[in-house]
């Protein structure tokens, strides 16, 4: 299980990455995150929707109600601003990732 802080920090890039592939709705987003993380990232379900709403407010994603196969759902898709934000996020996470890898790699060499 991820810590609370890490869940909060990583939800934005995770959601944006999923929506950059294709538009989706809340329940599907949750399921996809579980699938891609091998069930290691499991969000509190109630947390997702306010996060989506926040992203909408910041104009990173857009929402639209659609009826597909007789089921009404709120679909989200990424905006241009969202794609830009995702690029920034990607750069930042890469920096953290590579720094940790280098340091941890060096550590294991020392021992």
């Amino acid at each position: 299980m991820l810590s609370k802080d890490l869940v909060a920090a990583s939800s934005k890039p995770l959601i944006l990455t999923l929506l950059a592939k294709e538009e989706s709705y809340g329940y599907e987003i949750l399921k996809n995150i579980q699938k891609f993380s091998d069930e290691k990232i499991v969000w509190k379900e109630g947390m997702l929707y306010p996060v989506l709403k926040k992203l909408c407010e910041n104009k990173l994603i857009e929402a639209e109600w659609k009826t597909v196969d007789g089921r009404k759902r709120k679909y989200y898709k990424i905006t241009k601003l969202g794609l830009k934000a995702l690029d920034e996020e990607r750069e930042q996470w890469k920096v953290v990732n590579s720094t940790l890898n280098t340091m941890w790699g060096a550590e294991s060499c020392l021992t």
């Binding site: 709705y25 809340g26 329940y27 599907e28 509190k44 379900e45 109630g46 947390m47 929707y49 306010p50 709403k53 926040k54 407010e57 089921r71 009404k72 759902r73 709120k74 920034e88």
Partner: protein, 396 residues
């Protein structure tokens, strides 16, 4: 036998009581639950089990409220002031239209009304006589009262009709035009200016044509109906506040704006005037100074986004019980104005009242325009600050 629909509606009713969730939020959560229920059913759970798992995985109502309150309060203080001022301009504009229509309609029938037999409707005539005092003129006053009241009912209906309410339509229409910042400012500033000054020009054109004596009678009646309608408006407003419904937040903010600005621009100066009159020092230039000082103070405090007054205002608009106290305060002030009105019309000469109301109009509209400019400018400044912050972060 487990009934999904009735269980769902029970769950929804429970959520509806939570103030921070809008109807749309609940609808989205409902669609989530349905998805999960169908999923779980297909992996072998009974409907009953599936619903209970879906419900508890989503989290209980308290938890959901705590999550949603973080996002649903984020309407900024500048936006609130902007909506508030827009609400004030809009409601004020509708009431001014009422004023003009009443004058026009009444003055058309003025000769017939005065020559006809005097009609006396028990409670209403008494009420008018008490409020208006010496300038009471049976048929004309009664007629103006009825016209004004009918128009008020129409306006109230438009403001408070929940499904299609006119304030939300007005503000959302302006919101939709937010394509460019400049256009936004032009719309926010020009519309109120055209509306208010435009109606005033028409208003004075009509005044010239209507016999000034008769105008006095009608205007006093209009004043009476205004007091009563404001009272009703504030009572309804207080009820709305206590309901804490987030779906109507535009309307709520607009009404708050109307209440605050009406109190600031009318109740306080009129009360001050009455106090000064008690000491025999009331005159035109003094009341002008009072209005200017009060207006400048309002602009100063609302313009400072971190001033204590704005922070307090924000506290009120967040979802606390204090807001109801605010509504009750407005009602009490209006009632006190209602009581003060007979004094006001008796002690002041018509000419003086005319002068003072003209001053109120001018200062009030100038203030509103300034407030709108400040609102727009500060939101732009805030945005550009935000943007440079983002850019900085990018290059660090």
């Amino acid at each position: 036998m487990f009934n999904l629909e009735s269980e769902l509606s029970k769950w929804k009713t429970n959520l509806l009581e939570k103030k921070s969730l809008t109807n749309e939020d609940i609808e989205e959560l409902e669609s989530h639950i349905l998805d999960k229920v169908y999923d779980l059913q297909s992996s072998g759970y009974t409907l009953d089990e599936a619903f209970n798992i879906a419900k508890s995985d989503l989290g209980n109502a308290e938890l959901l409220e705590a999550e949603y309150i973080k996002v649903n309060t984020s309407i900024s203080i500048q936006q609130r002031i902007g909506y508030g001022v827009l609400g004030f301009v809009f409601i004020n504009f509708m009431f001014e239209i009422r004023h003009i229509i009443t004058i026009v309609v009444s003055s058309v029938f003025v000769d017939k009304l005065l020559s006809a037999k005097q009609i006396d409707i028990p409670i209403i005539s008494d009420l008018i006589r008490i409020m208006v005092g010496t300038s009471y003129n049976n048929n004309l006053s009664l007629f103006a009262f009825l016209v004004s009241t009918i128009l008020t009912i129409v306006i109230m209906y438009l403001i408070f009709l929940n499904k299609v309410n006119i304030i939300t339509i007005y503000i959302e229409t302006i919101e939709r035009f937010k394509i460019k910042k400049l256009l936004n400012i032009i719309l926010l500033v020009v519309i109120p200016v055209v509306l208010t000054f435009g109606t005033n020009i028409i208003f004075y054109e009509i005044l010239v044509k209507v016999n000034i004596d008769k105008y006095g009678d009608i205007a006093v009646i209009n004043g009476l109906v205004s007091f009563l309608s404001n009272l009703i408006l504030f009572i309804t407003f207080t009820i709305e506040l206590s309901k804490n419904n987030r779906n109507n937040r535009f309307k709520l903010v607009a009404l708050t704006g109307y209440t605050v600005l009406l109190l600031v621009f009318e109740s306080i100066p009129i009360s001050l005037n009455l106090i000064l009159m008690k000491f025999g020092v009331s005159n035109f230039s003094l009341s002008f100074v009072i209005y200017v000082v009060i207006s400048l103070l309002v602009i100063y405090y609302l313009g400072k986004s971190k001033s204590k007054v704005t922070l307090k205002a924000r506290e009120f608009l967040e979802f606390s019980n204090k807001r109801v106290i605010f509504g009750v305060f407005a009602i009490i002030l209006t009632i006190s104005r209602l009581v003060l009105m007979p004094l006001y019309t008796r002690y002041f000469q018509a000419e003086l009242i005319g002068n003072i109301s003209y001053t109120i109009c001018v200062v009030r509209y100038v203030t509103i325009v300034l407030l709108l400019c400040i609102t727009c400018l500060s939101s732009i400044i805030n945005n550009s600050k935000f943007n440079t912050k983002l850019n900085k972060r990018k290059y660090i």
